[in-house]
Every structure is written in C-alpha cells, then in structure tokens.
Amino acid sequence: MANVNITINGQKLQAESGKTVLEVARANSIDIPVLCYHPALSPQGSCRLCLVEVEKQRALQPACTFPISEGMVVQTESEKVQASRKFVLELLFSERLHYCMYCPMSGGEALTECELQAQAYRHGLTNWKYAPNTSKRWPVDASRKYFLMDHSRCILCRRCIRACDEIVANHTLGVRDRGTRTMIIADGDVPFGESSCVSCGTCLQVCPTGALIDRRSAYMGLQTEVERTKSTCMACPVGCGIEAATRSNQLLRVEGDWDAHNGGLLCVDGRFAVVEPPTDRITVPMMRRDGELVKASWDEAATAIAQRLQSTGPAAGLASPRLPSESLSAFRRFFREVLGSDEVGLLYGELPPVDVGPFATLPELSAADGILLVGGAPLRDQKVVGYTIKRAVDQGTTLIVVNDTPTDLDPYATKSLKVADLAQATTALAPSERLVVVYAPGLAPEVYASLRNLPAKTRFLPLIQGTNTAGAARVGLTVRAVQGAGLFVMAGDDATDGRSLPAAEFTVVQAAYRSAWTEAADVVLPSRTWSERSGHIVNIEGRELPVVAFLEAPKGIKTDAATLDLLADRVVRPMREAAR
C-alpha cells in the first residue's frame, strides 16, 4: 500500500493508505478518546466520541472509521471537537444510571478501569448537564455463573456483541428494540444463563464500563492496584496466552492476552474455572500411620519414600500431563537415574502423530480458506480451536468435517463426511490456498498417511489431549501401563476425574488437593499448583510456551524439582554412605 501524507493537529505524518485516522493517530501517540472502538473489534463509529474535524468535510467524522487520504488535514482537539465530545458524554451520563460511586469499575482516571468515567474526568464533566434518569430502572441479569450484566451501566457501545460475533463467533448477543428502548439481549431475549452463551467471558473483557462485571473480582481492587502477569493457560493444550490479575497473592481474574496466538480469546475453563480452585489444599507431607494419614515432616516423608521405593521392589511412576516440561523431565530423570527404572508414563493424554506436516498456528487457522477437521471435538476439548474454526467459517472459510460420529461443528460445516470418505474431502478442499488440517489422535494409520500426502503448503493442527502431552513426549513420557511394587504419582493440581491408579504395594502421591488418590496413598506430598509454577509447555502449535508463576505457594510447599532432589538425596545418601 502506498504511503500518504496527512496532517494531524499541525503535525505532518506519513502513513499507509487505507488506515483510519484513529490508527494513524494512535501510532503517533495522538490521543483520540473512544468508547465503542476496541482494537480487536471492527470499528462501528457509533459512540461518536472519536469525532474529529476533517478539513473539507461538512460534518465531524469518526476517527475510528474514517480512512486517511493524501493531503488530509485533521484537528483532534479543536473547540468544535471538544464540544461534541462533551456533548456525547453528557448524553451518555443522562441515559442510564451512571452513579460511579456504586460501581466496581469506578476509581481510576486510567482507561484500565471504567472508560466512561475516565473520559468524564478527561473532559471535565463535573455535574449532570441533563438530569440523570432517576425514575427508570434497568434490570441486572445475574443468571450466568461467573459474571453478570447490569443494564443500568450499559452504554450500548456493543463491544460485547461484536466480541461475541467476531472473536468467539458464538452470536449469542444482540440488541432488542430501538432508540432509547434498545437493550443488549442474548438470543431471542432470554436470560443470559439460559442462552447459547458459552461463558467464554470475551464480552466481559471488552466491556468499557461496569455493565459486565466479574462476580469474583468485583469490588476487589482497582486495576491500578493489582499485579498483572503474562503466562500460559494450563487448562488445555491450546496454551492460550493469559494475563493473570493478582493482588495480595490472590488470583482475582484471568484475562486473555490480546497479543498472544489466541488473540485475547479464552474459554470458560481457562478464564473462570481456574480462578476458583478446590479448597482442600494439601500443605504438608502426610504419612499413613495406623491406617490414618497424619502430618509428617519432609524429612520423615522423604526418608520413608526412599526406603520403601527401594525395599518394595521395582518402582513405577506416573505424572500428570498438566505439569510443565521441566517437572516432567525431572520426574523422568529421577526414575531413570536415581531409581534406575523405565517404568514411567503419563496419567492420561493422547497425542496424534505430530510429524504429518508443518504445524499451523491459531492465526493461520483463523485466516485459512479451507479447514479440514478429521476426528476430534474441539468445541468440547480445545474450545478456543473450536471458536476459531467457527470464526473462520463466518468469514467464508470452507469447513469439511470428517468424523464417524456427529460433532458440534457439523452445523457450521460445508460438508460432513465419514472417515472413509476422507479422499472426497481432500478433493473438495484442493483449491484451498491456505488449507489447515485439524486432526485428532486415535485414527487409523492410513488416515494420517493420507494427510501426509496433502500439498506441501498445508498446515496441521493436532488435537492433542492433555495440556502438556506434547512436551511430555519430548522428554520421553507417554501414556502407557506401568508396573511396579512401588508407585510414585506426580499428580500436581490435576483432578482424578474418576480415574483409578494401578494397584501397588506402596503408593506415593504428590498432589495439591486431597482426592481419592491421596486418600488411598501411603505417603502424600504437597504440590504447587499451575499458578505457582514456572516452566514451559508445548502446545498444539508445537511451540514451547512459558508458564510463569504469579502466585506464591503456601509456605513449605516445595517445587517439583526440590521435591525430587530431596527424594533423590534420600535414596542416594544411604548408598553413598554405605559405599564410603
């Protein structure tokens, strides 16, 4: 694209033609206030706060939609512009119940809190120009589990609707009526909790005011008073980029990282479920005495484990795929080098062949012109992948689903075929320039073989099961049946999900929470949770992503490496001493 010359507030600038005035202004640190605009959403030019004066234009023009052109002269702070902004804000404050002191989003002049309030501060609104609405009441919809909608604080900017449409492609939200009777609604105006909403929370993340409020973190601190840490979600192998908001070593909220491969998008598991973990945390080692698990010191526990693992006979180990690669690697090393055992594996997890071709990224999936889904149920198991496929379909991408059982994505597919008809699917997608194949584990080898034969430009996205199954594979851990008289299970913060452990004479479970496994174990060791660990995982794109601890573990809970080091020491020390 050619460059054009434009002038903003007397400043001569060059920018790519096709950009909007707002984009150019932002790139040059010229602040134009916005409300309905969000960089992740298509601009709609409806709040009219970003109106600027463009020479030769009869009316003020919205910076967020107005394209630049050669020689354009723009004023963003003229008297006319400022008057118009103030007018818009005055109207918004008169429309519903914007009594800031009662709102959890109140309190900051920074745009990280309520953007409406911040703009009011910026434009010097000190009183209500038009009498605020005192007679009318707007409902609060609290039918969703994790967050609620207070219509009285809604400014109808429709960011939520666009997020639901354009980012999640779920199309739950819309508007009802027109004029001042306009209301944000779900589906055909049903309570949000009864709607097709998937509680991904993207709408919550983009809401500029206190209309959409997170139940847990409401009133728990201003944005300026929380710490924000970028990390990787451990809920599934998509490994979405997140920003964890913490305060006083408490996780308040998880938000999607706009800059990561998931583009800010998260699912209910990654955004909400993780914030409210089980309460029965294990904080000290425990040993079974007289049939009862009782507190023990690290030294007692480690010594007992070392003795029993050696004395009981060959030892076997199982690790959770939700552990970072570093922990898994240490676990593997502990067994091989300390215990001299190869009887190690993963508790669960499935990994399809990852060598069928080059990995696709999520942005590539989003921009694909053809998607072939072979097996799997991404809307259930790797939700963000499922949303991304739906989004691509909305933009005109051809989706062909190949599966012998019906899947949630069938309604969006151009065609749904049986696995035996895979060739038909690849033929249909042959014209695709940017084909992405999304494939599940557990299919017949000839299926993978035929995928390998697709044109070289094809990209592949494996639907791995288990958060770090791919990382585990790289350190040699896979799902397998292990055998041993002594069993060491490194469960981390994983739940049992009804799975039972193999029988053993002596069982050690390292876990963050009490479970059926810990209740049956001989020795229980405390574990850190994902939010307290640092390390890496390998996600479905085959990329190694950093997991950054953003909470401090309760005192006395060792890292996985320290735990294994201690055990190694207890195993090795008697040998060393004996050898001396």
Binding site: G45, A59, Q61, L91, R178, T182
Partner: protein, 1070 residues
C-alpha cells in the same frame, strides 16, 4: 407540459377501439373510499346497457387527487368526476356515457367562486402540474405492460441498448442535472459514474422504496400506478454502471405496490425486457423485490442495504460509500423510486429537455404528497422552482373553512416548517434548505392557525426519536432529551433556559449523529423555534398555548381562544339548565360586557369550537346574548372583593379596556376615576360600532354596571386640554394612571386629492353619526345637519376591507346614500371584516369592488369621483395573502360624491407633545405606547392598555388587557414591583346534566334578522337573537371539553347536583 391526451384505447396488441375509456382510480386513497365498488358497479351497468363494446372501464393507479376520491376520468373528452359513489353510476352512464352531458353535481367545485369545472385540465390542481414521473399514473392500467409500452414504455431501454454506451447514458444523466429525489439531492449521473468506476464485481442497483414519512405516498403511488417505469429506469441504471442484479427495497406495508412490482417484473421477463440478453443484447439483468419491515431508518441507504443483507437495519458510517462498498460490500447504486421513474423520459427526450424545466441547479419536477389543512390533498408533480405559495394556494386550493395559513412542513418529519413569510420561496433543493426546511423525499404538510407549532415540532420529534435505531449516542439519547424538553414546554413546565438547551442539543445532534436521521431529527424543532419563537415563549412565559392544542394548557379550545379567557362551557352548561344569572356571573369574572359581546364579539371561541370539527361550532355568542339579555329587572352589582383602599387610580379613556380596568380596580377597593374626552362613555363601543349592531341602551346598561361598582366616569375631560398627567399624579393625588386612549385616528390613503371636500375619515364619520344620534337629534333617525346631510342622496365610496369600512358603508346606506361602494385592493376572502357583516352588506345592496385601489380623488374642491386602478395579485406577503399590485394600465372612474377611507386606525398622540407633561412617554413607530411586561410605560406610575398598546383590536381583546393592567397596577401599588400579570379566576366546573348523544344530530340555529327592506333609514338592531328554547337547546350541543380536560388531568368531575329548579322546558322531549 404533459398534456398528452393519448387515449389508451388502442394498444400495441391491436385490441378493438373503444368509443370511451372510463378510468377509475384504484390508488390506495380512492380504494379506501370504495373505488373498487364503483368500478364493479360501473362495469355491470355498462354491460347491462349493452355498451360493453363501446365503453371500456379501466382501473388505474393514483392520479393524485386523493381528497376528491374516488376519482373517475373519461377519455377522450377528459371529463373528471369527483367523489363518485356507487349510487352515481346509473346517472353517469345515462347522462354522460349515453347522452354526452357532463354532470355538474360530480364535477370539481372551485372553492372560491364555487364554479363547477368538469374538465380535467381546467382544474387548478392539475393545471400547474407537469408530470414526468407520474405521467402514466392514473392513465394506464398498471397491471398491463402493453399499456405501458403504448405510452413509449421501454423505448428508452431499447434506445440505450441499441445506440448508447454506458458512458453515453451516464453523460446524458449528468447533463440532465437530475438530482436524487430521495431528498439529499446528489447528482444522479455522478453517482452512477462513481459506481461505474468501481472495479469490484458484482455490482448492484437498488431502488429505495422504503417510504416512511407520515403522510407521504409518492413512491407507493408510482409503484402502484406505473411499476414499469421504475423497472425500466433501474434497468437503464444497471446497464450504465455494469450491474446484473437489482433490488427494490419496498416496505411490507405496501402490499399492492409489491404485488404490482412483482407482476410487472414477471411481465418484463415474458417480453424479454428482463433476464438474460435483454432485447437480444449482451446485457442481462434481474430484479428482485425485498420487503422491508417498516423501520423508518431503513430509508437510509446503508441501513437499507444492511436490511437487504438480512441484518438489523442500521446505518454505518460513510465512507466507504455504496458506490465503492455497498450491498455485500460490493459497489452499489441506490436511488429513490422517483429518480428511476424519471430516467426513461430523460433518456427518451434528452438531457436538455429535462434541464429546461425548472431552475438550472435543480432541474425537473418535484413530487409532493400534499396533506394537512388544505383543500386539495393528494399527489402532485410540479416544476421545480414553483413558489411554495402557488403549490399551497393554487394547486392545493388553499385552507379549508377560511382558516389562516400558518406553516408548511416540507421534507417530512426530518424537514422543517416554513411560515407565511416563506411562501415565495421557490421549491428546489437549495432554496428550501436556505429557507430553513428541506426538500426531503416529498412530504408537504400544511397547517393552519389551529396548529400549535410546539406541539407540531413535538409530534415529528416523537416520531423521529421513536424511529432512531439506537446505534449512535447523539441520535438515541439526544432525540430523547430534546423530546423531554419539548414535552415539558407543552405541559407548561418549560423555562426560558429550555430554549438554549433545545438549540444546543439540536446543534450537536446535527453535527455529531451518524446518519441523516439523527442529523435531521432536530429540523422541525429548529425551524419551529426560528420562525415561531413567540409561540414557544407563550408556552413558557404565559403557560398558554395560543393555538389551543397543548392539552395540559388548554382546558377547552373556546376558553383558550377567548382573549379574556371567558369560561364558555361553564355558562353554556348553566344556560342549558336555565341558570342564567349564575352563567352571567361566571362570564363577568372575565368580561363585564356580556351583553355587548353577545352582539359584537367576533367570537374567537366559535372559531376554535371542537363541535365545528364535527358539524358546526356552537353559536356561543348568541347564547351569551340571550343569557345577558335576561337581566333587566335586577341589574348587576359587581362584588367588592377587597376592603377599601386609600390609593386612587385615574383611567384615561372610557372604552372597553379602560372601563374593565376601572371595574377590576374598584372591585379591589381602589377609588377609580375614568376621564373621557368625548361627551359619552364607551369609546369605540359608543362611537365606532353602529347602533344597528349595538343598541345604545344595551351599551349604557353595562356601563352603568361599572359605575355601580363605584367607578366615577367624567366625560368631556380631555387629557392635554383639560388636565395633564402631572396634574393627576402630583396635584390630584392619583397614585397611578392607566392610559386607555384607544385608536381613533383614521389612517390616510396617501393619494392625490385626499384633502378635498367630501372626503370623510372612516372613524370620524362613524363617531359623528353616533354622537348625533346620542344628542337626540333624531332617535334612530337619519335626519339633520352634517354628516347626515353629507351622505343623504349622495353616492358614497368606502375604501378598505375591515370592520370600520363595512360599518361605514352600511351606515352610509342607512343614512340614505344613493349608492354605496366598497373598494378593496384584495379579494373577498382576504377581507379582515366579519364574513357575516360582508354578507349583510351585500344583502343591503352595497357594491363591492375587489382587486381595486383608489389612485386619485377627482374634482376641483369637492369630490367628483375617484380614479380606481385594478389590482392583480402577485407574490405572498407576510400575512400569507397574495400582495395586490397595480394591474397594467387598467384604470376606471367611480362616479361618487363622498369618499370614506377606512383602511386602519392609530392612536391620537397629539396630547403628548401639546401638554406640559414633565416626562415624555415613549411610543412606537406605529403610534402605540411602549409598555413592559407589567403594562408600565416609560413613565413611572403610568400604565397603558387596550388599542393604544395593541393597535386596533376588538372589545374582548381590550377587556382582556383591562383585566391584566388592573392586576399589574394592583400588584405595583401593593408591593412596588412591576410583574407580568396573570389574571386568574376560580375554575367553575359545572356538572353535565343531559345526555350528549341526544344532541348528536342537532344543528346550529340561525338568529332571526330584521328584513333588509326594513333597515334603510334607521339604525334598528339587525340581529334579533335567540328565543329561550333555541338558546337552551343550542347550549346543549356543547361537547364539554372542560370536563374531558378534568379527566385528562386526572382531576375529579363535578358531582351531580339537583335537577335545575327551572324545569319549564323539558328540552329532551322538546
């Protein structure tokens, strides 16, 4: 001009030729007044009479004359019948179709001269029209493509496909100067060029038929009456821009238009005029109809396209413009129905033909749906540039029932209203915008004096804000805030600052809204405030709605219309019950001159009476007269409401204003002296209004009532000659003076010879006559010296059209003038005098010369005739009437001996300069006193009211001022503060004792009058008044709006009282 009288008798299909075609309008307007039944009846009758081979009956689309529907036309004669019902059919067949006679009864009646105009082209409604888009509407059967083809249909498409390149077509359209008829007025050819230049494919042509303005039906009528012309226009546009697909976006509320369109599209397919390889060319085009759900905003092109796409119909910012990225993000061209409808004619007849019609910058014709308070409502197509007034008064036939034109709203709910002063505005895009309104899509709503401009603006705002899509903040919230402000003003809760809020909200909405709906929403309010600010201020300052429309402020329209606020419904209800004294008491709380006003009041109340909207207004004045005349035995003793006060007030002038002020102050305990220059009290009531209208005993009886209240009246006391203001205030101990000196000085004509003997001033003449009679030199007799001698046996000409002129003429006639002429420069309907007075003057044999103006008084020293020049009417003046200007060279002599100019009066202010007043009092250019809100003049302690402040007015208006000035003086004397007075009296809620339904068909009675042959030579009262039964029956026709108002305001209705004591008349049975 489209005066082609092509009979559609011979079609291209070669059907037999008929002797006569009878076209019956099947447009929605006529359809709703049963035209389909007329069509059936006529077809049956034609068949029964064996005329089926000679006469063809054809249903057509709308011919526009909706107020006269069902409309029937007969060709080749061009006969037009109005309001035809099934009962007329047999007569039409017998008289017109068989015997060839036109029926006057069914012909259009020209409203002024009441002349029957049977021929289409003689009717002014059609005479000034030029029909391009509407050329076929009402002339062809819209369901027949053959009839369209017979009228050159698809000729333009053939020419385009055979001879023209797309660029040629675009050039022709650009050269024609056609501007988009949807309202924005963008050059159509240029728009096409933009779409043609866009590289992306496919491209779309879209027709905007989402006509949503209240009262607008231009697009619908075209689609219903001539769907093929739109289809042809769109096909040409598609060829020009390179589109293969088109959509007509038509609201679902137009089922007939949709059905006709779909049928027409099917016919076009059948004839090879649509679809693949049209007329054997390479060009292919398909057209689809998309039904809209009726959201007003979908008329905005981007919202319209969103709606076609299946999305919520909401606009989006432009750029990108549709020509670049429109329907499904592809280049699209959106034009209005009317623009496409004009296209084939432009292609056929050429750009220069079109450009030759109307002004250069807005060529062609404009189509309007004319509605509101106008005689000829309907659909019209006029050349651009025609003055607004010509549309309203010539094509539209002016206001019905003699009401005053007030404003015209153009551009629909997003347009603006223009006042009478804008009637000369040429109708085109730029002139209307400049005047403060918009062209819009073609709605034109005319309103008369009964429309409140605040309420009118609120009506449109209610519509526009309800239709706001709610997407952008300025429109969604701003419209609502604006509506709230207007609502509180109409409820009497507004404050002055609200006007600034209106202006600020409007300015910002116009600047900041996303689409034209929001940008134009404030239009009616802004123009309303610009042209009718006084009316807004009345609501805010006086809590009054002058037009009588705002419910919260108007208890009943009659009370509201009365300048003095007399409670007509209350006393009508009491008269109905025979309780005359109580009724009179209520009347006198606001107006002490019931008997006088029962005779001479112009009865503003009756002009607004809601009963008049059903049949005829209540005869309030005559009921009042009867009520007042029942009081002879026991004269009124006005009640003293407050204790006696030490202060005293002098009133100068014993006219209705001065006497009322004196009465009110006396009732409040002041000592009041009235100084009157003339030998008799009464002012204009005594020396202006002739005795045959107001007998002197009636007048003096009511003046005596005022004296009974303690008011002293001193006659023959002239300010300036006998005393000065200083004398009153400094010497005589008066604490305040009220100047109520009236307007007794006749204006001069300003022509040569006006000083000659025999020229008598109108007011002087009437005064002299009154005083002669008063001096007893001939009780009701026309005998004696001047001015009687000056008139008797002479030929008299009176100049003017007001009450004084008519009074002078009728007086002269009574004095035995040999001939009496009235010379008036405008037309009869423009005369400000009472219609009944004019009628009576005609009965008495007075000759009127309309459109005539005296230019010279002839004779040496005495009047020996007057030279009169004929006038013609030119453009409109500020009063909404056409301005009379001299017609070229046409002058004649009226052979008269006496000339009485009566063209208006002013206040005699000679005393101001003559006397020794220590402080001059400021006056206006029109010789009235300058007064502030409290009626205080520029001299402390001196107040003024009546004609001396307002200029010549009526008795009741003077009374109103008298009430108010007394209130103001009272407040000033008690508190020393000058405040705007509000004269309030308790609200008398009178119970409703009879069943209104019983009077549903009762008619307004007439008063008996003295026969014209018994009037000459005397001044006996002409109008004789109602008898008791008539008065009481008439009073029961009152709809009791005052009680409905109680319901509206959620106030309790008065409890049922005992039956009236006077049960002599059982009127329900009577």
């Amino acid at each position: 001009m489209d005066k082609v009288e092509v009979s559609t008798s011979q079609t291209s299909a070669g059907e037999p030729l008929f002797r006569t075609d009878v076209l019956i309008c099947g447009g929605t307007g006529c359809h709703s007044s049963n035209s389909h039944a007329v069509l059936e009846a006529l077809s049956a009758e034609v068949a029964r009479r064996g005329l089926a081979d000679e006469v063809r009956v054809i249903p057509t689309g709308c011919r526009g004359f909706c107020s006269m529907g069902p409309v029937m036309m007969m060709y080749p004669e061009g006969i037009l019948y109005c309001q035809v019902q099934t009962g007329d059919v047999a007569e039409i067949v017998e008289e017109t179709l068989v015997k060839g006679r036109t029926l006057e009864r069914l012909s259009y009646q020209e409203p002024i001269q009441h002349k029957a105009l049977p021929l289409y082209h003689d009717i002014p409604f059609y005479g000034k029209q030029i029909r391009i888009a509407l050329r076929n509407c009402g002339l062809i059967n819209p369901e027949s493509i053959d009839e369209y083809i017979a009228r050159d249909g698809y000729g333009a498409l053939g020419k385009v496909l055979a001879d023209l390149t797309p660029d040629d077509v675009i050039r022709e359209m650009k050269d024609s100067g056609l501007r988009g008829r949807g309202g924005a007025g963008f050059l159509t050819g240029l728009k096409w060029e933009f779409a043609r230049r866009s590289q992306a494919t496919p491209k779309y042509v879209i027709c905007n038929a989402d006509e949503g303005d209240p009262g607008a039906f231009m697009d619908r009528s075209i689609l219903e009456g001539d769907p093929h012309c739109v289809i042809e226009g769109m096909t040409i546009a598609a060829y020009a821009i390179g589109a293969a697909e088109g959509y007509v976006y038509c609201r679902a509320e137009y089922p007939l238009a949709i059905a006709r369109l779909e049928q027409a599209i099917a016919q076009a397919h059948e004839y090879g005029l649509m679809g693949e390889n049209i007329l054997g060319s390479d060009f292919s085009f398909d057209l689809y109809v998309k039904q809209g759900a009726g959201a007003f905003v979908c008329g905005e092109e981007t919202a319209l396209m969103a709606s076609i796409e299946g999305q919520r119909g909401e606009p989006r910012p432009r750029p990108p413009f549709p020509a670049v990225s429109g329907l499904w993000n592809k280049p699209s061209n959106v034009n209005n129905v009317k623009s496409y409808a004009m296209t084939p004619q432009i292609v056929l007849k050429g750009a220069s033909w079109f450009k030759g019609i109307g002004p250069a910058k807005s060529p062609g014709t404009a189509i309007f749906a004319l509605t509101g308070k106008i005689n000829n409502t309907g659909l019209i197509e006029v050349p651009m540039g025609i003055p607004l007034g010509e549309i309203i008064f010539d094509v539209g036939g002016g206001m019905p029932t003699g009401k005053q034109f007030k404003a015209v709203q153009t551009g629909g709910p997003l347009g603006g209203c223009l006042p009478a002063s804008a009637l000369n505005t040429p109708v085109d895009f730029d002139s209307l915008t400049e005047a403060g309104a918009t062209m819009g899509s073609g709605g034109m709503i005319v309103v008369d004096e009964d429309t409140c401009m605040v309420e009118f603006a609120k009506y449109f705002l209610t519509f526009a804000s309800a239709e706001s899509c709610g997407k952008c903040v300025p429109c969604r919230v701003g419209g609502q805030r604006l509506l709230e402000v207007l609502t509180r003003i109409t409820e009497g809760k507004g404050v002055r600052a609200d006007l600034d809020i209106i202006k600020e909200l409007s300015r910002n909405m116009q600047a900041a809204s996303l689409c034209s709906l929001g940008q134009l929403t404030p239009g009616p309010v802004v123009s309303g405030l610009r042209f009718f600010e006084k009316e807004f201020l009345s609501h805010i300052d006086d809590k009054s709605c002058p037009a009588g429309q705002c419910k919260a402020l108007v208890r009943a329209k009659c009370i509201n219309a009365c300048p003095a606020g007399v409670e007509s419904p209350a006393y009508l209800a009491l008269v109905a019950q025979g309780r005359y004294a109580e009724g009179l008491e209520i009347h006198r709380q606001r107006n002490p001159f019931a008997s006088i006003c029962g005779r001479v009041c112009p009865a503003f109340c009756e002009q607004r009476c809601r009963r008049g909207e059903i049949d005829e207004p209540i005869s309030i004045r005559l009921v009042k007269r009867f009520m007042a005349d029942q009081e002879f035995t026991k004269p009124w003793q006005p009640a003293r409401t407050q204790a006696a006060k030490a202060q005293q007030v002098a009133v100068i002038g014993a006219g209705p204003g001065g006497l009322t002020a004196a009465l009110r102050l006396a009732q409040r305990g002041y000592r009041v002296v009235v100084f009157e220059k003339l030998p008799i009290p009464g002012g204009m009531m005594a020396v202006g209004i002739p005795e045959y209208r107001l007998p002197r005993e009636t007048l003096f009886a009511e003046i005596e009532n005022i004296e009974r209240a303690g008011v002293q009246i001193r006659c023959n006391q002239s300010l300036g000659d006998d005393f000065t203001l200083d004398d009153l205030l400094d010497r005589d101990g008066f604490n305040a003076v009220i100047l109520a000196t009236g307007a007794h000085k006749s204006r001069r004509l300003g022509i040569a010879g006006e000083e000659k003997q025999g020229v008598l001033r109108g007011t002087d003449f009437l005064r002299e006559v009154s005083l002669i009679n008063r001096r007893g030199q001939g009780e009701n007799r026309a005998a004696g010296p001047d001015p009687v001698a000056a008139i008797s046996g002479r030929r008299v000409a009176v100049v003017g059209g007001g009450d004084v002129a008519i009074d002078a003429a009728r007086t002269a006639w009574r004095l035995g003038a040999a001939a009496v002429h009235v010379i008036y420069r405008r037309q009869r309907q423009d005369m400000p005098a009472h219609a009944e007075e004019i009628e009576a003057a005609l009965h008495e044999g007075i000759q009127f010369h309309f459109l005539a103006n005296p230019v010279r008084v002839l004779g040496d020293t005495r009047v020996a005739g007057v030279a009169v020049r004929r006038q013609r009417l030119s453009d409109f003046d500020g009063s909404g009437r056409r301005r009379p200007v001299p017609a070229d060279g046409d002058e004649y002599t009226l052979d008269v001996d006496v000339l009485i100019p009566a063209i208006g009066q002013s206040t005699d202010l000679s005393w101001l300069t003559a006397n020794g007043s220590s402080q001059a009092i400021e006056t206006t250019k029109s010789s009235t006193f300058v007064v502030a809100d409290a009626f205080n003049t520029t001299r402390a302690g001196v107040f003024a009211a009546g004609d001396a402040v307002s200029g010549p007015a009526t008795v009741v208006q003077a009374v109103a001022q008298g009430n108010l000035v007394a209130e103001a003086v009272d407040i000033w004397l008690q508190t020393g503060e000058l405040v705007k007075p509000l004269y309030e009296t308790p609200r008398p809620d009178i119970v409703q004792l009879y069943d209104l339904d019983e009077y549903a068909i009762a008619r307004r009675p007439q008063s008996p009058e003295l026969a014209p042959d018994r009037r000459q030579g005397n001044f006996c009262e002409v109008e004789l008044g109602f008898d008791e039964r008539t008065a009481r029956e008439e009073a029961k026709r009152c709809l009791r709006c005052d009680l409905e108002w109680l319901d509206y305001m959620k106030l309790p209705r008065p409890q049922t009282e005992a039956q009236p004591q006077d049960a002599v008349l059982d009127v329900n049975k009577g």
